[in-house]
């Protein structure tokens, strides 16, 4: 029993030694396996630019548009991400320039936005592009939204500043109106209804003029509530409603018959008008004192990470690249292994020898696992110390993840090797898996962007598990989801058993 076990160990380690020596004897292969991936990462790290693209932009302003001045003013202020090449009225020429690739973006300004605003409608800036890359299209959409938002803000800011300037004049009218309102109340309290009424009529006329001057501006801002901009709309609406309330009360007061015996109702109305005017005055003062920037955009945002370390954009890709490369190397090594034995005729030699399929496979598994693990360790060292990749999590979890990815990948490789008839066929299968991994493993597309049934493919690829777990371990300092570790273990076992069964069938008698 012991002898048999010992003989098995000798056989298994004969394969380990043989495979290791065979690989180590190929310096060019070793060079490409270790330095190749690192160089890819390094060049990617050096070459990757996180700066968003600047779009060469042409603006079409329809002839006779009253906003030409506004557009000129605004375009001058957008120097970040948009390079304004000019303003034109020639839509045909602009479109052909876009098609020829001389410009990246053509913005068509609305003909007469004021009319649309008065009709309580938003004005539309249309952005034309010739992009085919969906990411670039999304970028342009986001950029368009941001430009529209910035223009909206500037328009509001300008209008608000103007309104605030005008409101200083309104306040003078309000001060005069307050004096008149006090006169009205005092005359009525003295029982002098006729004089009170006369003064109220004068006050009504003054307020009518004020309403004429301020009402439309206030209403315009108040209407912004409909577009969702409540920051400016709310104070404007309050002022507007106070103005209306004052006017309503004055209208009621003036319409009342002057009855000297009982003026209590008129006095109450006069008091109300007086209070409203005081409040209106206070609101106007507050309105003028509020910072226009705050009024137009009371909120701003900043993005902060709960991570402990600031990450370069390249760092995000490194875990995915490590798991993808190790998966590919392991699959390639394993997939060439048995097909090589078969093509070279050594499988026949093994069939005649007292060696089992399990011993053969175990020997190969162990050797390739050791080799790829060493490659993984060297690659990890290079990215940590050579590229400043952070390692926030546990090395134990890291090693466990790498071990899992390698075991599953080797299993896939051996299954390919047993299915393929030639080396080139095996390589083709390995390349198909690499291609699938690039698209489905979360390497550059987050998994949530994939239709759920398609994600099944993702979770059949070891690189998906590796990417998820390594990102959590290295970048977040988290151990990652335990389910993923268990899944890697189960897949390792499953693929090993499938490979062992297939090899046993191939080594069995024909």
């Amino acid at each position: 029993m012991f002898n048999s076990f010992f003989s098995s160990l000798i056989r298994i380690f004969a394969f380990v030694r043989k495979e290791v020596l065979t690989i180590v004897r190929q310096p060019r292969l070793l060079f490409s396996l270790i330095l190749g991936p690192f160089l890819i990462l390094l060049i990617f790290g050096i070459g990757y630019r996180d700066t968003p693209r600047t779009l060469r932009t042409l603006v079409i302003v329809p002839e006779g548009s009253p906003i030409l001045g506004l557009v000129e003013q605004y375009t001058a202020s957008f120097t970040n991400r948009i390079e304004f090449l000019g303003i034109t009225t020639d839509a045909t020429n602009a479109t052909s320039q876009l098609r020829e690739g001389n410009v990246d973006l053509v913005v068509v300004a609305p003909l007469n936005p004021m009319v649309e605003w008065e009709n309580n409608e938003q004005s539309l800036f249309s952005l034309y592009h010739a992009e085919v890359d969906p990411f670039e299209v999304a970028y342009i959409q986001v950029l368009g939204d941001r430009v529209a938002e910035a223009i909206n803000k500037q328009v509001l800011l300008a209008a608000l500043e103007e309104t605030k300037r005008e409101s200083a004049q309104w306040q003078e009218s309000v001060s005069e109106a307050k004096v008149k309102a006090t006169t009205v109340r005092q005359e009525l309290e003295r029982g002098n209804g006729a004089l009170g009424q006369e003064t109220a009529v004068l006050l009504q006329q003054d307020m009518g003029l004020l309403s004429l001057a301020a009402g439309s501006s206030l209403l315009l801002f108040a209407n912004l509530a409909a577009t969702g901009d409540t920051n400016v709309a709310l104070p404007a609406a309050t002022l507007h409603s106070r103005l209306e309330s004052i006017q309503d009360n004055l209208d009621t007061l003036v319409a009342m018959e002057a009855d000297d015996t009982d003026l209590s109702q008129e006095i109450a109305l006069a008091e109300q008008v007086e209070r409203d005017l005081t409040e209106f005055d206070t609101l106007l003062t507050q309105f003028q004192e509020i910072d226009s920037q705050v009024l137009v955009a009371p909120f701003r945002s900043e993005t902060l990470s709960v991570g402990l370390q600031r990450l370069d954009p390249t760092h995000f890709y490194i875990p995915a690249v490590i798991s993808l490369l190790l998966q590919h190397i392991a699959i390639t090594m394993a997939c060439l292994s048995i097909v090589g034995e078969r093509r070279g005729g050594t499988l026949e030699f093994l069939q005649a020898a007292p060696v089992s399929a399990l011993e053969t496979l175990l020997g190969k598994y162990i050797s390739f696992f050791l080799l790829t693990a060493v490659l993984g360790a060297i690659l990890t060292g290079l990215v940590i110390w050579g590229m400043g990749m952070p390692m926030l999590g546990s090395w134990g979890n890291y090693a466990l993840t790498i071990a899992g990815v390698l075991s599953v990948s080797l299993g896939i490789g051996f299954i390919i090797s047993l299915a393929a008839q030639t080396n080139s066929q095996a390589i083709q299968y390995a390349m198909i898996i690499l291609l699938a991994s690039i698209f489905f493993s979360g390497f550059f597309l987050p998994l949530y962007r994939l239709w759920e049934p398609v994600r099944v493919i993702s979770w059949l690829l070891p690189a998906t598990y590796g990417t998820d777990l390594l990102q959590n371990i290295m970048l977040r300092g988290q151990p990652g989801d335990m389910v993923l570790y268990v899944a890697l273990l189960l897949f390792s076992l499953l693929f090993f058993l499938i490979a062992a069964r297939q090899l046993r069938r191939q080594m069995a008698r024909l």
Binding site: S7, I10, R11, F13, A14, R17, K18, L21, T22, R25, Q26, G344, G345, T346, E348, F349, L350, Q351, A352, A353, P354, V355, R509, L510
Partner: protein
């Protein structure tokens, strides 16, 4: 074939689809012998070897090696067999030593085998090349390395599939000398070859054609079967007269009156036993006053025997 039989087959047949690679093969190979399996390329020799190794399972009939069906070999039985495949199937990136060491491990040779491996390499004249990679060896060296790998676990039965194919005659001779040495050491050798002349080294020879065993016997018996007896060549100073030829044919040492003329005043006489017939022939010549220039036994080359057997088989089919 009265020794213990190591290999025994009964109507052993292997078909690949519609094609019959081995057809109703019956063999009995005793322990300690060299069995030469001769036949043209593609006649089914390698398939037979694979059947006897258990790599293939027979379509019908049966084979027994060490009294066990090969496809049911256990490790112990596999460990008693050495196999040198037709092609070099060891690992080109490993050295001679590493390849041999690998083969030794596969066959469970104990780890203290350094001396044993060196002795084996001496035996196959590769001692000076231990550090060379297999892909740096010549074809002959590769064959010797394959042979060493087949011998590494001291098997009692050795299958050598065309071990001398593609190597020069001098080395072929060395190989066969070595096979004979192995036989003397007690190994049983099953050797396939395309070189008919190599049959002379074998204790038994099987001739195969189109998957069928057309003859199996000792080399001498095969030669006699083709020639119909031993052959004597008698060269005279003058042409022997026709009447004398008829008299010679009627002599008791001549088999079935088989006397024929060859060029240059030479007669070919088929006899039962050359060693006893030759003195009788010379005596008869003296009686008839025939001046003899030379008289000797003629040994028909195995190539001719093989061609004869194949032609007979073809004609029979």
């Amino acid at each position: 074939m009265d020794n213990v039989l190591v290999i025994e087959t009964t109507n052993l047949t292997k078909k690949f689809g519609e094609q019959t690679a081995v057809d109703q093969l019956n063999l009995e190979i005793p322990a300690g012998s060299i069995f030469g399996f001769i036949g043209p390329s593609g006649c089914g020799k390698t398939t037979t070897v694979r059947l006897l190794l258990g790599i293939y399972e027979p379509t019908s009939g049966s084979a027994r090696v060490f009294n066990t069906a090969p496809h049911a070999f256990n490790r112990q039985e596999q460990g008693k067999i050495g196999y040198m495949p037709q092609m070099f199937v060891l690992y080109p990136d490993l050295t001679v030593w590493e390849n041999l060491n690998f083969a030794a491990s596969l066959y469970g040779v104990p780890l203290r085998r350094h001396k044993q491996l060196h002795e084996l390499l001496q035996l196959v004249n590769l001692e000076e090349h231990v550090g060379k990679r297999a892909n740096q060896l010549s074809g002959g060296m590769q064959r010797r390395l394959s042979l060493a790998a087949a011998l590494v676990h001291k098997p009692s039965l050795l299958f050598l599939d065309e071990p001398t194919t593609g190597i020069d005659p001098v080395l072929r001779r060395k190989f066969w000398d070595h096979f004979v040495e192995l036989q003397q050491m007690g190994h049983t050798l099953f050797v396939t070859t395309q070189y008919v002349g190599e049959a002379a080294y074998c204790d038994y020879v099987g001739v195969m054609n189109n998957g069928r065993l057309i003859a199996i016997d000792t080399p001498e018996a095969l030669r006699r079967r083709v020639q119909g007896g031993d052959v004597l060549h008698l060269r005279t100073q003058e042409e022997v007269a026709y009447t004398l030829l008829r008299q010679l044919g009627e002599q008791p040492f001549v088999l079935n009156g088989r006397v024929s003329r060859l060029p240059e005043s030479t007669l070919q006489i088929i006899v039962e036993e050359a060693s006893t017939a030759l003195p009788l022939l010379l005596e008869w010549c003296q009686e008839q006053e025939i001046a003899v220039e030379s008289a000797s036994e003629y040994v028909l080359p195995f190539d001719d025997i093989f061609v004869e057997l194949i032609e007979k088989e073809t004609a029979h089919v």
